[in-house]
Symmetry: C2
Subunit: 421 residues, 2 copies
């Protein structure tokens, strides 16, 4: 039943039925939160063993350093090795930081603003711009907006961003970079194709101080049994000699504990040297006890993958619940499209054009909090007002089922309202 | 025996004796490190119980938040309360950060550079200046130099910096701030007098965006049974309505574990609001597991003081060893002066004018690493080349005794060399 084919009478009738159903939910006084990409309570239990002090042994890192004291700017060797394995780079091309890759990205851009990356400081080059594949991650956009960097939307599909558009825009030397999530993207869950990654590596920006912030937050975060795989950006870049263009970050926030994990950066020799030189002023070093705890608990790549399978076991039914409800309630109605990701933390839902804000507002009234409409676009402005980021991980499966039921109702109600005008 | 009263012959004779002794040390091939303010291995053992996961209970902060998940930007309530008690401010005037107060200071100044604090960004106001009480902390100076902020030396005595000089310099609106360690100063160990603190509170800088970075790193770090006490800067500022001028920081780096502790900031309502607004872009929140661990282990101010007494029991004999050696080997010779701090991590040693570099080099040759001469001054330039920061905490007492023996020799050798010309 494609809703767009219904007569005005049929639509009005259907709206009345849906509204009645909606009102009955509203009367329940629910409070359901599907707004943020937070792991659920059961996921937090998976890593408790990491807090066993026995894992810290005699507190010595593999290089003999006591992790309880000052020292070691760029991370203990075993933790660098762990991230190197996860990201497929050499340990000397990684730096281990504190608890958040967001802070690494903020600091990197702050550094470029104040000191530049090889050229004049960005803050002294007038109005500069960044390319933002959309829909994307609201906190990326907040950083760029905070620094007054103009953001340009780049449409994406299942293969990643529109590379032709990027190729053409980077002829402007005021365009200083791109920020993106190449694997299990936030919010689509899509992974950039090999061709897309190669085209990133082959970019020839006019700006010599052009940087791609490659936020590989979900590199081991599979959900489906079918895993996506992302071509290694530094391997691809080597062919083009463009390694200096890429700053890759990741963290264990959704491997171990969000907020109490360890974050890392991977970059070329030149970028690593520049970043370390700034870090010597900024810190004596990050929390090495937490680094050792992570390295000894997560051990190696195979062990990380086994750990992630336990997350996946919890997340898969939640993602299925949402996708099944979408299939049952929205499919074929001509009013919504959504992604079916193999990993990550989100599903991207496109509702009827012009209806995202209204859908989110209707949900809110019925006690279901969604990520704000527009949040997946720079400046919070979705030009078509249709994208909603669905975050199925935090609620319990029961709560989630109820929330999605209400969401589907609201999607249809707002679409019919819109069509009726 | 004041060396300055000796004849050239007597000096030459004494130099020969000292040099022979020095050479015999040199032949031992020692490697002793008195360069950094690092706790010793025995101090690290004091806090191991904090790593017991039982201290984390059911992982809930006092406001019911699960510390293993995202959320809470400014610190869990019990950790804010702990720092509020330590600093004598209200919990709502504190923010709990990550592992390093150095990073808080770096970020605060970066923020002022890029966004200002109420006025134009500092980076857009041309050449700006900071006042630096000397001798001071090298990492403070590194931050200011990194941001291209001109540093002006302010002499200090046992009561703190020369406040008349500060009063006169702040008439220049290009002077944007002061950075200092008001209690058990690095390196003198002196604590600012009540009169000095009151004069800080009463400062009337021409610059409306003037800030005092009040690095209260050693606020509970007593060594002697006689404790210094520092007047509460915010209490003093209240009288003058100057609360917005002060940014106070501290950390548990030398209470629990250096690098794996928790750092905090205290500031006025207006400054807290401005800092939080920047933080929302920079991070989702800091490591709350470590915050809860600290709050439940350190409990309250009385318990912190009891814990610090255990550090003091270890540090007191080390400080005594240095001071006793200085008394025995250098007193009355007219070639050196030193402080006798009641707390902190350092002793400030002034050697014969023009001899600090030479003394440090002689020590180095004999296997004793000291903080670099000049490090206690902006740009690494001690105008009189006489100050050396002594850090007695890291070596064992035996190593320390040997190192100080050698140091005293080198102080005298370099002084005699200088006098002989």
């Amino acid at each position: 039943m494609n809703i767009q084919n219904l007569s005005r009478e049929q639509l009005a009738e259907r709206l009345a039925v849906l509204t009645e159903e909606y009102n009955s939910y509203k009367e329940m006084g629910l409070t359901l939160d599907m707004s943020r990409g937070k792991p659920g309570a059961d996921q937090l239990e998976l890593t408790n063993e990491m807090l066993d002090p026995a894992l810290l042994g005699n507190f010595k890192a593999s290089n003999g350093f006591d992790v309880r004291n000052y020292g070691i700017l760029d991370g203990i060797p075993e933790c660098k090795k762990l991230f190197a394995d996860i990201l497929g780079v050499k340990p000397e091309n990684t730096i281990v930081f504190g608890n958040a890759s967001l802070t690494i990205m903020y600091d990197y851009i702050a550094q470029c603003m104040l000191f530049g990356c090889g050229e004049e400081p960005w803050s002294k080059q007038g109005a500069i711009k960044f390319l933002c594949p959309v829909p994307g991650y609201d906190r990326h956009f907040s950083i760029l907006e905070h620094f007054g960097i103009e953001m340009i939307n780049i449409p994406t599909d299942e293969n990643g961003p529109d590379m032709d558009m990027i190729d053409s825009l980077i002829a402007d030397e005021k365009v200083k970079g791109i920020i993106c999530v190449p694997m299990y993207s936030n919010p689509s869950g899509n992974t950039y194709s090999d061709e897309t990654v190669r085209r990133f590596a082959a970019l020839k920006p006019a700006a010599k101080d052009f940087r791609v912030i490659w936020d590989n937050a979900y590199c081991v975060h599979h959900i489906s049994d079918e895993h996506d795989s992302l071509m290694n950006i530094f391997d691809a870049a080597k062919e083009y000699g463009s390694e200096d263009m890429f700053i890759e970050v990741t963290s264990t926030s959704k491997i171990t504990f969000p907020g109490a994990g360890v974050a890392a950066l991977a970059a070329s020799d030149a970028n690593i040297a520049a970043i370390k030189s700034r870090m010597t002023v900024q810190t004596i070093g990050y929390d090495k006890i937490n680094q050792l705890r992570h390295a000894n608990y997560l051990k190696d790549f195979a062990s990380v993958e086994a750990h992630m399978q336990r997350h996946s076991d919890i997340l898969k039914p939640k993602f299925s619940a949402v996708l099944d409800a979408f299939d049952a309630k929205l499919a074929g109605k001509g009013i919504a499209q959504w992604t079916k990701p193999n990993g990550g933390y989100f599903i991207s839902l496109d509702v009827y054009e012009g209806c995202a804000k209204r859908t989110v507002a209707l949900c809110k009234e019925a006690g279901v909090t969604l990520t704000g409409a527009g949040a997946t676009f720079p400046y919070g402005k979705d030009p078509e007002d249709k994208n909603i980021r669905i975050a199925p991980t935090f609620p319990s499966r029961d709560e989630l089922c109820k929330a999605v039921e209400i969401l589907c109702l609201c999607v249809e109600i707002s679409a019919i309202e819109k069509i009726l005008g």
